[in-house]
């Protein structure tokens, strides 16, 4: 036996059958004063997306998805703003080295300057200069004794 294909349409549940006769008229919840009521339209919007009803799994994850999307957009906006705020890095300056004349030009030694005799002479002059600087015109150890010669008696000469 073959099953007859079911039409591709959501099943519309049949209205509930009242078990008891509505003897007492029920007051609609929306009509109860003092209790905040959930707007019916928003609740409806969560369950559908662009008119398409969402599956219950997606419906459960919808706040999380919205949060992720919000964070993503936040990061995107931050990156864009940051890009505009940041100053563009200066381009590397290329220094063109141009040869300049040295303040101490290269000198060429005379042939005598490299001889040992020349160096010895220079050393001798430096040594003599030190001796002349250190010369004292009086030897401090030869300071003459300081004496009080007159004895200081009243009939002193």
């Amino acid at each position: 036996m073959e099953e007859t294909p079911k039409p591709f349409s959501p099943e519309i549940p049949s209205p509930p059958v009242p078990t008891e006769p509505p003897s007492v008229p029920q007051v609609a919840q929306s009509q109860i004063p003092g209790i905040p009521q959930q707007p019916a339209k928003e609740h409806e919007a969560l369950k559908t997306f662009a008119g398409i009803p969402l599956p219950p799994m997606v419906e459960k994850l919808l706040p999380l998805i919205l949060a992720v999307v919000a964070i993503f957009f936040g990061i995107l906006i931050f990156a864009v703003v940051q890009k505009f705020i940041e100053k563009p890095e200066p381009k590397p300056v290329t220094i063109i080295v141009t040869p300049t004349p040295s303040p101490t030009p290269v000198h060429i030694f005379t042939t005598v300057a490299t001889t040992s005799a020349f160096m010895a002479f220079e050393s001798n002059v430096a040594s003599l200069s030190g001796k002349v600087e250190a010369f004292q015109n009086e030897d401090p150890s030869l300071t003459t004794p300081s004496l009080v010669l007159p004895l200081g008696f009243p009939n002193d000469r």
Binding site: F121, F135, Q136, L151
Partner: protein
């Protein structure tokens, strides 16, 4: 065999050098220490003499008179010892100054000998002091002679300084000879202008030597004629000679700075 003899001879020479040279160098140090010691003792005895003299002048008692005579004798004796110690120090310094000429050394040693002889005679007078008048007479002998003694001592100390400066001047003259050789050797490598400059600089160096020698002559004369009858005048003349020595020293200093400049100029071709 010859090698062994040479070795023994070398050993003796080295031993002699090792033992004798430090001894010579230490002689003036020993004399200086002795001089300092005698000066210290003199100060003590002079203070004791002053205290005793004050008591004598205040109380005029026989005891105070006897005490002051004793203290004066001690002080005068120590004064003589101090002067002798100083003359000994001068003698050692003369021996350690090879820059002195033979005649200068002989002359200064003769001065010392004369002064030591005077102090020996004075010591005899001091030892025979029996009264305040005797003490005054003994002291008066030194006071009368002191200008001559001080002149001799100043001549010797200044003479030693002069000899050392003269020796530095001799070294300067040798440096001049070397500088002349340097210029002559470098001359072919220099331009005409630089040759002329080098010759002119050498002339300046030579002038410094001439001025130095003239000042040295003036100092030599001033030292040899350093005699005075008053200590104040002697001090003034001594100070003047020291200034002349400093001037001559500055001539050498400037001349040597010129030689250094010349050396630097001769170092490079351009």
């Amino acid at each position: 065999m010859r090698r062994v003899q040479f070795g023994i001879a070398l050993f003796f020479v080295c031993t002699l050098v090792l033992f004798v040279v430090p001894h010579i160098a230490a002689s003036s140090q020993q004399a200086y220490q002795d001089y300092l010691y005698q000066a210290d003792v003199y100060r003590q005895k002079y203070n004791a003499f002053q205290i005793s003299q004050n008591e004598y002048l205040k109380f005029k008692t026989l005891a105070s008179e006897a005490d002051v005579i004793s203290k004066t004798r001690d002080m005068l004796s120590q004064r003589s010892l101090l002067l002798r110690a100083y003359l000994l120090l001068l003698s050692e310094k003369l021996n350690e100054t090879p820059q002195l000429t033979g005649s200068e050394s002989d002359l200064y040693h003769q001065y010392i000998k004369n002064e030591v002889a005077f102090l020996e005679t004075l010591s005899q007078f001091v030892n025979s002091v029996q009264s305040v008048n005797d003490a005054e007479n003994a002291s008066g002998r030194l006071e009368d002679h002191y200008a001559i003694l001080a002149s001799s001592m100043r001549q010797i100390t200044l003479g030693i300084s002069l000899a050392k400066l003269r020796s530095l001047g001799d070294d300067y003259s040798q440096s001049m000879v070397a500088a002349r050789l340097l210029i002559d050797q470098v001359r072919p490598e220099l331009t005409i202008d630089r040759q002329t400059t080098a010759d002119r600089w050498f002339g300046k160096i030579s002038d410094k030597r001439t001025i130095f020698l003239q000042k040295l002559d003036a100092i030599t004369k001033a030292i040899s004629s350093l005699k005075s009858t008053s200590l104040g005048d002697l001090d003034a003349k001594t100070s003047d000679i020291k200034t002349q020595l400093a001037d001559a020293q500055s001539e050498l200093t400037e001349g040597l700075s010129y030689i250094k400049e010349l050396i630097n100029a001769m170092r490079y071709k351009d």
